[in-house]
């Protein structure tokens, strides 16, 4: 396509439009912007963006201007039929000066309604990787002029530059639709499982109370084991639900200006009794003057508790856990270093996957397999970063970067 015929101011508008179109994750907004701006540049009466319905091999109108709402809702064009259908099938643009004179579209030349009559039109495909994902149509210039080759070149340029933006928005929408479906499913399942689980939990609890006096009985041991695993199952269900909420973007944060130093001290106090049982020493150092972050207190507490309890879990008796907090550029860096078994390089990234069971984790550890995956989601919605470093035998370190409270700049 030759763009040389396009005037400079129009090219600038196309550039701006392209930039804007790529900023949307919502297909409707994306195509609205494209259509609105194009109608302005080309000064048209009627315009529409149609998208391909893969399953039915049809085009439907995603957004239109100057068309009746009924037409927009009802229009379905088979791929290969009519003007837009031809453009979608062939993947080629079309400029028609006077449709009533064009032999290819005799039938379409007689509009069913007299609401508007098409004289001159442009129809251009949106292509991504050679595949047509939709068509943009503009009809009739307001000034009663026919479309010319500059118009065609301009619309083609826009469609080439924005096809990917529409595709991305479509993919994003589909992904969030699936994530929401999954959340509903996980949510239903979790409620359905929790009811019988509560009955089992309480039956066991009642049974344990009945034999409490006989402290060393085998039955008591078995009931305790059952009870422990019910709690584990319960935690697993909570975690699954939690993770599905994050994946669907339905885990709202309750942010406050919280003091990360205080939060960490509280978390360390909480884990200390467990660490002391294994004679593990927990050391904290805070190498910063101002330690406030704009974050959700409960969620960050959940992350720190998770990292600390992992550190204690994987550190042998008599070992140590070091928690360090310091400034790093515009972030606060939190490190949890343990003197445990360490992590192999190839496992460092896998750690944050769901249900990833690494070799070290087989050693009697009883997590849900979701803890770190949830940590990653929590830190990510805070615009932070979490990662692990470490070598086998040299302990492991978990780092978190959290954006600092920006008000500090004003101080």
């Amino acid at each position: 396509m030759n763009y040389k015929g396009i005037s400079n101011p129009k090219l600038i508008t196309v550039f701006e439009l392209t930039k804007e179109a790529h900023s949307f994750m919502d297909t409707e907004k994306c195509v609205s912007t494209i259509l609105g701006r194009i109608s302005d540049i080309l000064d048209t009466e009627v315009g529409s963006v149609m998208l391909v319905d893969e399953k039915r091999q049809e085009l439907f109108i995603k957004k239109a201007s100057g068309l009746d709402a009924d037409i927009v809702r009802q229009t379905r064009v088979k791929i290969g039929e009519g003007i837009a259908g031809w453009v979608a099938k062939e993947g080629k643009s079309l400029l028609v000066d006077d449709i009533s004179q064009d032999n290819r579209f005799k039938k379409s030349g007689k509009p069913k309604s007299k609401r508007y009559a098409t004289n001159s039109l442009l129809s251009v495909p949106f292509k991504v990787g050679g595949k047509v994902i939709g068509v943009i149509n503009v009809n009739n210039k307001k000034a009663k002029l026919n479309f010319n080759n500059e118009d065609l070149a301009l619309l083609s340029l826009v469609s080439e530059q924005t096809g990917l933006a529409i595709q991305n928005a479509l993919i994003y929408e589909e992904a969030s639709r699936l994530a929401n479906l999954k959340l509903d499913f996980v949510s239903d399942i979790s409620h359905e499982l929790k009811n019988p689980l509560a009955i089992i939990r309480d039956s066991i609890s009642l049974a344990s109370e009945g034999i409490a006096k006989d402290a060393n009985s085998k039955e008591k041991h078995l009931l305790e084991m059952a009870s422990r695993n019910i709690e584990r199952l319960d935690r697993l269900l909570d975690s699954l639900l939690d993770l599905a909420k994050f994946e669907a973007g339905r885990a709202p944060l309750e942010r406050t200006y919280l003091d990360i130093k205080k939060l960490i001290i509280d978390c360390v106090d909480f884990i200390k009794p467990i660490a002391e049982k294994k004679s593990i020493r927990i050391k904290t150092s805070f190498l910063l003057a101002y330690s406030k972050v704009w974050a959700d207190n409960d969620r960050i507490t959940q992350v720190i508790n998770n990292l600390l309890s992992n550190a204690v879990k994987f550190t042998p008796e008599g070992g140590s856990v070091d928690v360090m907090v310091k400034k790093r550029d515009k972030n606060i860096l939190i490190s949890v270093q343990d003197s445990g078994v360490g992590i192999r390089k190839k496992d460092l990234l896998k750690l944050f996957n769901k249900f990833e069971r690494l070799d070290v984790y087989q050693q009697g550890a009883r997590g849900t397999g979701l803890g770190l995956a949830i940590c990653k989601e929590i830190i990510s919605v805070h615009n932070g970063k979490i990662w692990a470093i470490g070598k086998p035998g040299k302990g492991s370190r978990f780092n978190i970067l959290l954006p600092k409270d920006l008000r500090e700049e004003e101080r």
Partner: protein
Amino acid sequence: MEKLKVLIVDDEPEFVELVKMRLESSGYDVITAPDGKAGLAQIKTGAPDAVLLDIFMPGIDGLEVLKKIRRHNKVLPVFIVTAFSSEDRFEKARKYNVSGFIVKTSDLKKEVVNIANAISVSRMYKGESSSNKQKGKQ
């Protein structure tokens, strides 16, 4: 002293059995009803001191039962039982003077302690109001 009597209205027999055991071991008399209609009948004939009422039941659901109870009795302590911790029916139920909410999936041992506490508190107030009445008479 005479034992306090608690009525459990719930269509899940296993849940009923467990709560019954817990309450009985805490010194309560327990009567039960598997649905709303039977529950209302039990309130008349059994004269319970408190009611645990499942909100989701076939037939007359918990909220309807609660409304019917309140028509004749404004003070009987009623605890709403539900499978979910967040439920907009909670809010509706609140309008009808509810003594507490019991979530089936939470720790029943703790819930039963909460019920016992709430019953004793409501007994206390009941005692106060009746003694006030007596003062009025004098």
